[in-house]
Symmetry: C2
């Protein structure tokens, strides 16, 4: 019986963009199972931009990770030992925290059972996981799109952005997506419902937005913050609305918490900016999952993935994610 | 017949806090009346914090005023000559632009008739003017308060803040107001419906907010921006909402357009920030006026004023306004 786990620790705080050796793979003992506990072998690990935040020393929702502390994140895996009647050996589970490792022991109540018949296991980290639900909550509960409205989506080919684009398109909205990669731009148009794309590395965001939508944007879904948020704010219609989901452009900078330089434009144009995160929508989980799974099964929604093999490559996968190497959801397959 | 007007010009761009000699009183010729025009003798002039913005070189809703260009702003006055059937000699009018001067000629269609029987003329610059309507729009159309909710109002004893506090109190909300003056703090409690006040010059905003409302704020009405907005953002409940009206703390700084340093807290707590200005609510003018006048006449609403005498003191009145010398609406009486 295996009684150790291989788990990533934070070796040092990244200076700007993280590097693979900012993380160290360690072997740690696993405790014996107590009552209502399970031992899980992870199958897929999630890497997500928000994981950059507790690597800083800034206090936020995630307390800073100590140097030498274990990394955490989402994972799906199989129960290989159990003292829980509700979660027997052979069942599959999602954990929001027990990523970045191969094996773990946890209380059954901290895990969510998942159905491997409905969708591939990895989908529970992506389109049916926190990424998909984040996109769903931002669209359906925050922005509430109407047919014919125009939406700008940043990091549009990422795990969240790709779902946002498709949900908006399915609502009859005109979708413009930003990406830094012509290959992703093609996918956005062919597969994710975007009518236009902007390459933020080579184009001027404001000028390209103006060209596509001279009257301005009704909505903006912000995954990027920084210069994207500023360009969007300058491009909003009067009474336009924004869903603030993330600020990945700022995560490698000294202070990701700062606001846009042109914030006053919100007063001038009557713009509504609503921040949100998926943790605020736990009560809507069943509704979100039902609707997302329905659209996935019907073919109305694609859940593209970028798969990286091998636990030992988790750090590198995270580094590559922040550099934009993924199409859709990036996961590590064990 | 008078054929010149005394009008303030911008003598130079203020460096930080404005000084009275940043403005110069000039005498300029008045044109003869064309068709459907009126000559108006102003009775009261408005001074408002937003007037600081076009004194900068930053592009905003108000284009920068040229050096030597005429100042503008709200005013009420009496028609003393008219070629307009709808606005005869002896009638009273409000102009959103023809302040900072004693006499002017303008098209009748650019002016709003006002009723001197309903309220004193100066009220049409304050509680029944843009200040009162700004407060009304922010409360009734943006924040939509519910009884029992807690609201924090910055610059609470100012022209807008004083109305916000009273409207919120009339809705059954708990009101906490910030001010820099113990005399205004007393008025806020005795007259404007505040349950508590914070002196931002002597107290720590976050600590005082925490003391009054340990569970956090439901709403924040922002007249100040800067450190007030940051303290409020850190003190909001999950799903709290903010009406962004002004940022007077920043108006003397190099860039009033910048956002709060802790903007990311909006994502963490699901806070909604809605910017607005009264120009966006022209269609609701009649409704706002009816409701405000009703509350004023019934005694449910006080419209306190600080009156400065003499056209020549308009620049000084504006300077004193930004330094917080006013209680309620500051006007210049001619």
């Amino acid at each position: 019986m295996t009684d150790t786990s291989r788990v990533f620790q934070l070796a040092r705080r990244p200076d700007g963009a993280p590097r693979p050796d900012d993380f160290k793979l360690a072997e740690v003992p696993l405790p014996a199972l107590g009552p209502d506990q399970v031992k899980v072998r992870n199958t897929f690990l999630s890497v997500d931009p928000y994981m950059r935040l507790p690597m800083t020393t800034l206090e936020g929702v995630h307390a800073p990770t100590d140097i030498g502390g274990e990394m955490d994140g989402g994972a799906v895996g199989e129960v290989i030992e159990s003292t829980s009647g509700a979660m027997p050996k052979g069942s599959f589970v999602f954990s929001p925290l027990m990523g970045w490792r191969d094996l773990y022991v946890a209380g059954a109540s901290s895990l969510v059972p998942i159905d491997p018949e409905l969708a591939p296991l990895s989908a529970y980290l992506g389109v049916l996981g926190l990424s998909g639900m984040t996109a769903y909550a931002g669209m359906e509960y925050v922005l509430k799109p109407k047919a014919g409205e125009t939406i700008f989506v940043s990091a549009a080919a990422g795990a969240v952005g790709m779902v946002v684009c498709q949900l908006a398109s399915n609502h009859g909205c005109r979708v413009i997506g930003s990406t830094g990669d012509p290959r992703k731009a093609a996918l956005l148009k062919e597969r994710f419902g975007a009518e236009a794309t902007i390459n933020y590395r080579t184009e001027d965001l404001r000028a390209s937005l103006k060209q596509f939508t001279p009257d301005g944007l009704d909505m903006y879904f912000d995954n990027v913050g920084g210069s994207h948020l500023e360009a969007a704010l300058d491009s909003m219609k009067v009474h336009g609305r924004m869903a603030l989901c993330g600020a990945v452009e700022l995560y490698n900078s000294a202070n990701y918490r700062r606001g846009p330089g042109n914030f006053f434009a919100a007063i001038e144009k009557g713009v509504t900016l609503t921040g949100f995160n998926i943790g605020l929508y736990a009560a809507q989980r069943a509704e979100m999952m039902r609707d997302l799974a329905g659209q996935l099964v019907s073919g109305a929604l694609h859940g593209d993935e970028t798969i990286v093999d091998g636990l030992e490559n988790t750090g590198k996968a995270f580094v590559d994610l922040l550099a934009g190497a993924n199409v859709g959801k990036m996961v590590v397959r064990l």
